[in-house]
């Protein structure tokens, strides 16, 4: 057992939130140490640097940890009537290393859903609290987009113009126009021009398979280089087994195993958990101890509860003309026409309708799933002629949707895996049905000759939220408005798990804005 020097702040997890928070704190002068279970992504291993990128993406790059099964991963088994298939990477940059980079802001109403609609809980902060941090995050990350969307509050212009539109982008725009809906070019964390040493996107498409040229603004190429330059320390292959407490009950550091399984302890004045919507509750539950028998910071019983994954689905439209599915950023044109609650609906809250790109050869073949003499004809019918509409809606936090430890599936050093249990609510089901209907309308208005959809509960686990939520009441929330645990002074949770509700948009921008704000609150609130 060895001892590390003390840090002002110990950050656990080097993903979207951990990277932004570490950068902000270290540039403010804090001594920050970050422990990351995974490693840096090796550029040579990024699938899209190779002609067989689709196969690589299904094997060692697979976004499901239980499939990827690397030594640095822990197992996730997915249960319940609507099992979720989590998308999560243990790596510097976390899940951003292969994300779609659709970079939304929440709406004012997202922070008051209980007051407005009796849905979920209200946040203890408002959009105004986050606005300067969205601005800051978008500048640091290099967001491409356009100000002026009338479906959102006035905002600072993104630093870069929208990504290239392409033929399918134009088709979605025409479809939206025919329907008379609000729409806007999709904000993306993909640089449309050279930006801070990273080259402009050249429309290599299929961003989930990584970006060898680093135009995709994953946290390993945006915040981390700057954070390290500012003096932050990052230990990779550092597997935390528990958060430690001092005699007076404050968070005091962590115990972790290095890559060889050797135990280390690190002492810090503050500990910030940024391990994601599944990893964060796992660590809190693993840190159960005297006085915290049900897990650390869990007097509310809410640690691991309220797992939200958004009400999501996809409609794939088939077009006679080419959809250029080998090119372009994931997102093209999107609409918040149906974002707010409409009393005429049989559900509350709403959804986005996002016109995206098409699919790749192997994925098309597997999806169409036809073998025999029709195989080639059907591939020719769909490949480069399909394009997708992604719908994402608000998913209500419900206690029975949860993350728990799984002592039956241990990681490489004997630490427990997790199970997720998820059952889609009736509200989410009705909302998704309506969203699929609207996406189908868009496809047809854009000229599709047929559509297929993924149903109301496809199990997409791309957005993992709510499992250590913030709130003013210690009886119902794990952390307060400054992300500090109600039960444990000096312990903070900053990632998707701290979001009380999820809005109806991809959460990466919000997670990083929350992290930047939390960094300021942590540093300004220090008393040492």
């Amino acid at each position: 057992v060895t001892n590390e020097p003390e840090a002002d702040v110990l950050v656990i997890g080097a993903g979207a939130a951990g990277a932004a928070l570490t950068w902000r704190l270290s540039t403010a002068g804090a001594r920050v140490l970050c422990l990351e279970q995974g490693d840096w992504v090796d550029d040579a291993a990024i699938p899209k640097g190779h002609l067989d990128w689709e196969v690589r993406g299904r094997h060692y790059w697979n976004p499901a940890p239980s499939i990827r099964g690397r030594e640095v991963d822990y197992d996730v088994t997915n249960l319940g009537p609507n099992p979720v298939d989590p998308f999560m990477y243990c790596a510097v940059g976390g899940s951003t290393v292969g994300f779609g980079a659709q970079y939304w802001r929440l709406q004012p109403s997202d922070f008051r859903t209980h007051t407005l609609d009796g849905f979920g809980v209200d946040w203890p902060i408002t959009l105004d609290d986050l606005m300067p941090y969205y601005d800051l995050n978008e500048r640091e990350v290099g967001v491409s987009g356009l100000a002026g969307d009338p479906t959102g509050p006035p905002r600072e212009a993104p630093p870069l113009p929208p990504n290239a539109m392409g033929a399918i982008g134009r088709r979605w725009a025409e479809g939206f126009e025919r329907l008379g809906w609000y729409w806007w070019p999709q904000d993306s964390a993909i640089v449309s021009r050279d930006y801070r040493g990273r080259p402009a996107c050249t429309n290599r498409s299929q961003c989930a398979f990584g970006c060898p040229q680093h135009s995709l603004s994953s946290a390993d190429v945006t915040y981390w280089p700057q954070a390290l330059k500012a003096g932050a320390e990052l230990h990779t292959r550092a597997r935390v087994r528990r958060i430690t407490l001092s005699a007076d009950g404050r968070a005091s550091g962590a115990e972790y195993y290095d890559r060889d399984g050797r135990l280390h302890t690190v002492a810090a004045r503050r500990v910030v958990l940024c391990a994601g919507g599944i990893g964060t509750p796992r660590l809190l539950l693993m840190s159960a101890c005297a006085g915290h028998a049900d897990g650390l910071a869990n007097s509310s019983g809410q640690v691991g509860r309220n797992l939200m994954v958004h009400a999501q689905s996809i409609v794939a439209g088939r077009f006679e003309a080419s959809t250029e599915s080998y090119a372009g950023t994931v997102g093209a044109m999107s609409s918040r026409q149906f974002y707010e609650t409409d009393p005429a609906n049989d559900f509350v809250r709403g959804f986005i309708v996002a016109g995206n790109r098409g699919y790749s050869p192997l994925l098309t073949a597997l999806q169409v799933h036809t073998w025999g003499k029709e195989h080639h004809a059907l591939l020719e019918h769909h490949l480069d002629h399909d394009a997708t509409v992604y719908v994402c809606g608000d998913d209500e936090p419900e206690e029975h949707n949860r993350v728990e430890l799984d002592p039956d599936r241990l990681d490489a050093f004997g630490l427990p895996g997790v199970t997720t249990t998820y059952e889609q609510s009736q509200n989410s089901r009705r909302l998704t049905e309506a969203a699929i209907g609207r996406a189908t309308e868009l496809c047809m208005a854009a000229g599709a000759d047929s559509v297929r959809d993924f149903g109301v509960a496809p199990g997409f686990g791309w957005h993992l939220m709510g499992t250590a939520r913030m709130g003013s009441d210690p009886a119902t929330a794990v952390v307060d408005a400054d992300h500090e645990a109600h039960d444990v002074p000096g312990l903070f949770v900053v990632d998707g798990s701290s979001m009380p509700t999820g809005g109806a948009v991809n959460p990466a921008n919000t997670i990083q804005a929350l992290a930047l704000r939390a960094a300021d609150r942590i540093w300004q609130g220090r008393r040492d």
Binding site: Y60, G69, P108, L363, P458
Partner: protein, 193 residues
């Protein structure tokens, strides 16, 4: 997204058979193209049966080559060889179809007529052994759609630029004039206190 799929993985209950969750083996079974030098697991009869099976899944139809013509069965063998579970499943899959062919036709699967092979595979696909069929289909499709010879045909026949994801493509930039109508619309979000 790139990993969309039609149905969730079969994990609806804790403790399903390992075969039902065979995809859990995929993380450790990637085979670089230059490492596929020959069969690893299958004997001659099994190779013939798998080649016949693969060609029923993806037959030749000019200009498309068949699965066996581009080495997809050998890829499936090499991939399965990296996992004890997949290796056992592949062998069992072949054993099942060969035994069924023998029971019905007194012939090895590879020697049955194409229509008979299709009938056997169709039955297997919806039988208690469906997961074996799924594994073979998945591996054969992978082997097929990573073969350079196939990717060239993909581009010719569909227009999907195979090197687009590697080299990039010039695309039409966003045209702001398209937003002329939307810019005239009133704000559409709810202000809250």
């Amino acid at each position: 997204m790139a990993f969309d799929r039609v149905k969730p993985p079969p994990e609806a209950g804790k403790g399903p058979s390992p075969e039902a969750t065979y995809s859990r083996e995929f993380g450790s079974t990637y085979v670089p193209p230059d490492e596929v030098q020959g069969y690893v697991t299958l004997n001659d009869q099994e190779q013939l049966a798998l080649a016949a099976w693969a060609d029923r899944l993806i037959p030749a139809e000019a200009p498309w080559p068949s699965a066996s013509e581009v080495g997809a069965p050998m890829y499936a063998d090499n991939c399965a060889a990296r996992s004890p579970l997949l290796r056992a499943m592949l062998l069992r899959a072949l054993s099942v179809v060969r035994a069924e062919a023998w029971d019905r036709r007194r012939a090895d699967f590879g020697d049955c007529a194409g229509s008979e092979q299709d009938e056997l595979l169709t039955e297997l696909e919806s039988s208690a052994h469906a997961v074996l069929f799924e594994l073979v289909l998945e591996l054969v499709f992978e082997g097929y759609y990573r073969a350079g010879q196939v990717l060239e045909v993909v581009e010719r026949q569909t227009g999907f630029r195979i090197r687009g994801p590697l080299e990039g493509t010039a695309l039409e930039p966003f045209e702001e004039s398209l937003l002329e109508r939307v810019r005239t619309l009133p704000p559409a979000y709810i202000q809250v206190p």
